[in-house]
């Protein structure tokens, strides 16, 4: 298993040892309100290419809203999102996917009407011929590429540890496996930026460690990862940088060490001293 050597060092030395990549995602003065309530307010930060960048914050801090704004599921009320140098604010998710952004969901979004393998094959959508006539008449080139996509999807499932579910119906799989299935599906689209929304939520310690290893392996292939996660052990262990939110606003940003030591972060999690 190849892994970024630095991730095994303590995060403090990591910050000095790693070369910081160019920004792949920049959020500028982003805000979103729901019926007068600010879910995200004037938020600005940058994510460097190649990083594992975690977003943390107590419940209701706006983490998932932020994900939905970045991935085009919600339109921002104000501000901009720059991905790979281009303004992509409010761009439809499928267009963002074509530019190399994909994500997983906190509440599973699995195609339960398909097999596990087909779920991952949908992830190959952008790389396949999806026009009507070749599909109706089964053009040989389409069939050949489809077979390759199938093999590739099976490999991806093996890589995330789902080899025994390759022929399974998605509806028959356990929760922990579905979490990984979402990651495999997102990876099938070959994203440059992958946003993982609580990939370890609801998993036991063993399963969490497995997800942890999967994320590191993916990051080692050069995919930038944005992670929302409540499992602090995981976050502190694998993140290069952390952005802490509270009530839709930036609370702190820095290396895991810096963020963990930040008094505002501690106050937000444990309640401020009077």
């Amino acid at each position: 298993m190849k892994m970024l050597a630095t991730t095994e060092l303590s995060p403090d030395t990591t910050a000095q040892a790693r070369r910081v990549g160019p920004p792949i995602l920049t959020v500028e003065h982003l805000s979103r309100e729901f019926g007068g309530v600010l879910a995200i307010g004037d938020l600005s930060f940058t994510i460097a290419a190649g990083d594992i960048h975690s977003i943390i914050g107590p419940n209701g801090a706006g983490k998932t809203t932020l994900f939905n704004l970045v991935t085009g599921v919600y339109k921002p009320s104000g501000g901009r999102v720059l991905f790979d140098g281009a303004d992509v604010s409010g761009m439809a998710p499928y267009r963002l996917a074509a530019r190399g952004m994909s994500r997983t969901f906190q509440n599973l979004q699995i195609f339960f009407n398909m097999t596990a393998l087909e779920n991952v094959m949908v992830g190959r959508h952008l790389h396949l011929n999806t026009r009507l006539l070749p599909a109706l008449f089964r053009f040989p080139s389409l069939v050949r590429k489809d077979r390759e996509a199938k093999e590739r999807a099976a490999r991806l499932m093996t890589e995330v540890g789902l080899e025994k579910y390759i022929d399974a119906d998605a509806a028959s799989m356990p929760y922990g496996a579905l979490k990984r299935l979402e990651i495999a599906r997102a990876l099938a689209s070959e994203p440059k930026l992958l946003l993982l929304d609580e990939p370890a939520a609801g998993l036991n310690a063993t399963e969490s460690r497995e997800i942890d290893a999967v994320i590191k392996r993916v990051a080692a292939t050069g995919v930038t990862i944005v992670l929302v996660e409540h499992d602090m052990k995981m976050v502190m262990g694998i993140s290069h940088r952390i952005t802490a939110l509270n009530q839709g606003r930036m609370l702190a940003e820095g290396t895991p060490q810096e963020v963990a030591a930040n008094p505002d972060v501690i106050a937000a999690y444990l309640g401020a001293a009077p």
Binding site: V73, Y94, A97, F105, N113, M114, H125
Partner: protein, 315 residues
């Protein structure tokens, strides 16, 4: 892959074999006529199943598209002397365009709203067919010329049986191909989770429009040929009850199963013939079947039966 290909082929061969053997078993033209009607319904249902069963969208207006196809052929051939094939293609093109134009706004709707909007389309078509009596003959319907192609006139149940049989095999083949393709997976993904489909690059709106148009065109082609076969068409073929009947066939036979749609169409075409006593209550029986299916076998007849067989899965 091999197993899948095998499954497709066995299904198609089985369908072909049944169609080939059936005329030898059926005693007379009366039964052949019912088989032809079942075939026309099956063609529409295979298309409708792509929309309802696979893509998870509802249409309560597909009889409208069937009706437009039927009347396009009736009017263009009868009143304007067009060659029947050209009229059929023109009808299909018009239905395709109409479906495309209405699909964009209505497929943004979901659930009940989509059902209401498609219902509205079907009703509008039905009203136009009833009131434009100068062209359509109004509620009494109109006579339709026989289908002539290359100087040959298609006439009689024996000939039409094979026309519809070949058409049905062809449509089933196209449907199976489509489902087992990247576009087919995109359609099923739309059903499974639109947002998840979007984030891996599926333009869900585009695929919803495409499948709506495709299923409407299937209905239109079936409508055109039906008009020539029957020789008489009435607006009843395009009305709300016919749309409900089509949806019931798809749901009863098995959503997301191409062969299920065929089985549903065949069974529910035969049923009224078998239960002639119930003729006055046909809509009630149909509604009862729809409800019972949803309650007792929500996956439909064929998938439910297939699940009972331990060795083989999915048709």
């Amino acid at each position: 892959m091999n197993a899948l290909l095998h499954g497709r082929l066995t299904g198609l061969l089985a369908l072909g074999a049944v169609i080939a053997v059936l005329p030898a078993v059926l005693p007379n033209n009366f039964y052949l006529d019912i088989a032809i009607l079942a075939g026309f319904n099956a063609v529409v249902c295979v298309g409708l199943n792509l929309l309802i069963g696979y893509a998870g969208q509802i249409s309560l207006g597909h009889a409208g598209f069937f009706g437009i196809g039927a009347y396009a052929s009736g009017v263009l051939v009868g009143a304007y002397g067009w060659p029947p094939l050209l009229a059929l293609l023109a009808g299909a093109l018009f239905v395709g365009l109409l479906a495309f134009l209405v699909a964009k706004p209505i497929l943004r709707l979901k659930g009940h709203y989509l059902a209401m909007a498609t219902l509205g389309i079907g009703i509008i078509v039905s009203i136009v067919l009833r009131t434009e009596s100068g062209l359509t003959g109004g509620p009494d319907g109109m006579m339709v010329e026989p289908f002539r192609i290359f100087g040959v006139e298609l006439y009689g149940e024996k000939v039409w049986y094979w026309v519809v049989g070949v058409l049905l095999v062809g449509v089933v083949w196209l449907s199976l191909n489509l489902i087992d393709s990247p576009m087919g997976r995109a359609l099923r993904a739309v059903h499974g989770s639109e947002v998840a489909a979007e984030v891996v690059g599926v333009d869900t709106a585009r695929f919803k429009v495409l499948v709506f148009v495709l299923s409407a065109v299937f209905a239109s082609v079936a409508g055109s040929l039906f008009a020539h076969y029957a020789g008489l068409i009435t607006p009843a073929k395009a009305d709300f009850f016919k749309s409900i009947e089509l949806v019931t066939m798809v749901v009863f036979g098995g959503m997301a199963s191409t062969f299920g749609a065929v089985v549903g169409a065949v069974v529910l075409t035969l049923l009224p013939q078998a239960l002639t006593v119930f003729q006055d209550y046909q809509q009630i029986v149909l509604g009862g079947i729809l409800m019972a299916t949803m309650v007792f076998m929500p996956k439909g007849l064929l998938p439910t039966l297939a699940a009972l067989l331990p060795a083989r899965r999915r048709a």
